[in-house]
């Protein structure tokens, strides 16, 4: 099921000829106030779409930075619902920036798929990424999300061959998230030369914009990926700024947002490759 905000944002960026910048932040990290300040500051700092993680006790696909962010979020008393409540607050001042919620299936199961979908829609969530819910298991969740027009964003990976890719992108909408490295978040570095042909494959298979994440940390790397992808996701490098600010006793939001700006500027500084744009 397609959502208006995600599609509108990608259409506008296509007209501009550049990739989207998608920062990832964790709900409640390190506190409600600071997480909300970060969230509200993201669009002005250069976020085109926001990926909003919700804390979970067992984040199996995350490397140490996002594991620590989840622990900080949990310690602040945050979970799935409280993270969605942050989105609701954000929506009071911004009705255009798409929000994609990201996390693990158990909190969603615990709430119940229909109750979750209704709550998410009410909070202004546009898309959902569930790390441990492959297409084979996603049927009932998709049925619930379809009722409220929230996209279940699919993940394609370096291990997805053409046959698998077909299954992954079947019936999906919004965009496809390409996991640039086989591994957990924030450890290996993505390589634009390797990512470029993969993005083309995924784009061709899905007919949708392709966001690239896992392994993009620096503005330089973000710019490289922005040349070959439709969107660049940065997560671990941002939650590490939260950790660094806490350690240094600095204000958290300004430090994180400064980093968002540097990354966003880097993405804005390049045009999406002409040869790639033609294939869309």
């Amino acid at each position: 099921m397609t959502t208006a905000r995600i599609d509108a944002r990608f259409a506008a960026l296509k007209a501009e000829g550049r990739a989207a910048f998608i920062p990832y932040v964790m709900g409640g990290d390190p506190s409600r106030e600071e997480a909300l300040a970060i969230l509200k500051g993201l669009p002005a700092a250069g976020a085109d779409i926001i990926e909003l993680g919700f804390p979970f006790s067992d984040p199996m696909a995350e490397g140490p930075p996002i594991q620590r962010a989840a622990i900080r979020g949990l310690k602040a008393g945050f979970g799935l619902r409280s993270t969605m409540d942050l989105a609701r607050e954000f929506r009071k001042g911004d009705d255009v920036t798409p929000i994609v919620l990201m996390g693990y299936l158990n909190p969603i199961e615990s709430l119940g798929y229909d109750a979750f979908a209704a709550y998410a829609a009410d909070c202004g969530i546009d898309g959902l990424i569930v790390v441990d819910c492959p297409p084979e298991e996603a049927g009932p969740l998709i049925a619930a999300l379809d009722k409220v027009s929230i996209s279940l964003i699919r993940l394609a990976t370096p291990t997805s061959d053409d046959a698998r890719l077909k299954i992954v992108v079947q019936g999906t909408s919004g965009f496809v998230y390409y996991v640039a490295v086989a591994g957990v978040t924030g450890v290996k570095e993505a390589n634009a030369d390797v990512v470029a042909p993969a993005v083309m494959r995924v784009r061709k298979a899905s007919g949708l914009p392709v966001a690239v994440g896992f392994g993009v940390k620096t503005p330089e790397r973000a710019a490289e990926i922005a040349r070959v992808a439709d969107a660049v996701v940065v997560g671990s490098a941002l939650v590490d700024e939260v950790a660094a600010a806490l350690e240094a006793g600095e204000a958290v939001a300004p430090r994180v947002l400064a980093r968002v700006k540097a990354l966003g500027d880097a993405v804005r500084s390049v045009r999406t490759g002409a040869s790639l744009a033609e294939t869309v």
Binding site: M60, R81, L105, S110, C133, P134, E136, L155, T159
Partner: protein, 415 residues
């Protein structure tokens, strides 16, 4: 939540026909099981499923496994008539299925041997495993040494601390033991870390999961490899008792020893199958590891099953005196057998297990592991329910050498 489509649902409480054929093609046991892993791992899990199906259908694979089970593991394990425990409890005859006499001292090696032969067949060159008490880690390290494959065992830092002898054993066997400090630093976190390793090393690495849980095909595969226990119990019972036992009792953490004992009996409706969960300080306290009696359905580590969790769906740490039982989940087939009423599930507290541990040592000259001591703690009442003239098989899943320091500490003895 049972949101998935249940397919062929037997009526709860009714005996099953001879048609028990779970899991289905999607790896589900009713609503439980499945394949809830990161997309990066999906192709690997499909590859594993196909490789296991092919191996299972290949008589040469089973012959190779049987050879190693006989000559390396030391099977079959005895079915021992525990005369003094029988007299003590005053009910049915009690028999011990002696998995404690296997090489490495527990049932874990049955599964490790099967999986490493499969890994070799698949051309994998590196082994990873998770461990709680260290028994599965030791078994994985053992088979890795035997076949010359490098092995990394993930173990929670808390467990590394309380199971030092097993850590040393694994290192002696040539394995690397990685102490996991993430999360609560126990078994579930070790499993998370092993999954992270697997998703990072997708081409060369084989993950030997130690219990009948995880994404399909693991629950079915581990069950199949452990079913040698139940098959032997059946044959030995016919030879020794001239009939099947009235009940089979086994402890449950993830539940691999229990499912291995239960599975061959599932269609024998007259045989009661009784699993014993760890009740820690008691089911009325937060400190237990009884996923069935104190948890609810959810998704973790690749499968849907009963889990200990809070209102937000975060996983709660299990507690048990036994490091092998304090897992916050349970194999999905147990969840299903529980729901359809084919198996009964009870629990035993830390203190009950400690008492049974000492009782078995004194009466039978057998020091049990703390895990089967939980099963033993319920065996007396089962023997009385069955009554004189009947037969109850207790699965002695491991020996207790590894636990003597822990037990001594609880008894206030300084070693």
């Amino acid at each position: 939540m049972n949101a998935q489509t249940p397919i062929r649902t037997p009526t709860p409480g009714q005996p099953l026909s001879n048609a028990y054929a779970w899991p289905d093609a999607q790896g589900r046991f009713g609503p439980y099981g499945g394949q809830f892993v990161a997309e990066t791992l999906m192709p690997l899990i499909h590859e594993l499923d196909a490789a296991y199906k092919a191996a299972k259908a290949d008589p040469s694979f089973q012959a190779e496994l049987d050879g190693f089970l006989t000559h390396y593991v030391g099977r079959e394990s005895p079915l021992y008539f525990a005369e003094r425990l029988t007299d003590h409890f005053g009910g049915a005859r009690i028999w011990l299925k002696r998995e404690d006499l296997n090489h490495t001292g527990a049932h874990k090696i049955n599964n490790c041997m099967g999986q490493i032969l499969l890994a070799r067949r698949m051309g994998k060159t590196r082994i990873i495993a998770e461990t709680g008490a260290g028994q599965h880690g030791v078994a994985s390290a053992t088979v890795s040494a035997r076949f010359g494959l490098p092995c990394t065992v993930y173990m929670g830092a808390v467990d590394v601390e309380r199971q030092q002898p097993n850590v040393f054993r694994m290192r002696l066997l040539g394995s690397e033991v990685f102490s996991v400090t993430a999360g609560a630093a126990t078994l579930k976190d070790a499993m998370n870390e092993a999954m992270r390793d697997w998703v990072t090393n997708v081409s060369d690495t084989y993950y030997i999961i130690g219990t009948a849980a995880g994404p399909h095909p693991y629950p079915a595969m581990v069950r199949d490899f452990q079913s040698v226990i139940g098959k032997e119990i059946k044959t030995q019972s016919m030879a020794r008792m001239g009939k099947l036992p009235e009940a089979v009792v086994a402890c449950i953490g993830g539940g691999s020893n229990a499912i291995g004992a239960f599975h061959p009996f599932i269609d024998d409706a007259a045989v009661r199958l009784i699993g014993v969960e760890a009740a820690g300080h008691g089911l009325d306290t937060p400190d237990h590891a009884a996923s069935l009696k104190g948890g609810r359905s959810g998704v973790l580590h690749g499968n849907r099953t009963y889990l200990l969790q809070d209102d937000d769906g975060n996983i709660v740490e299990g507690h048990s005196i036994s490091a092998g039982l304090d897992y916050p989940g349970i194999g999905p087939e147990h969840a299903w057998l529980h729901d359809i009423g084919r198996a009964e599930y009870r629990s035993a507290t830390d203190n009950e297990a400690l008492e049974a541990f000492q009782l078995c040592s004194k009466l039978e000259g057998i020091i049990p592991a703390l895990e089967p001591a939980h099963a033993l703690a319920r065996t007396g009442e089962v023997a009385r329910e069955v009554g004189k003239g009947g037969d109850v098989v207790l699965l002695m899943s491991g020996r207790g050498d590894k636990d003597i320091f822990q037990v001594a500490k609880h008894l206030g003895v300084e070693l």
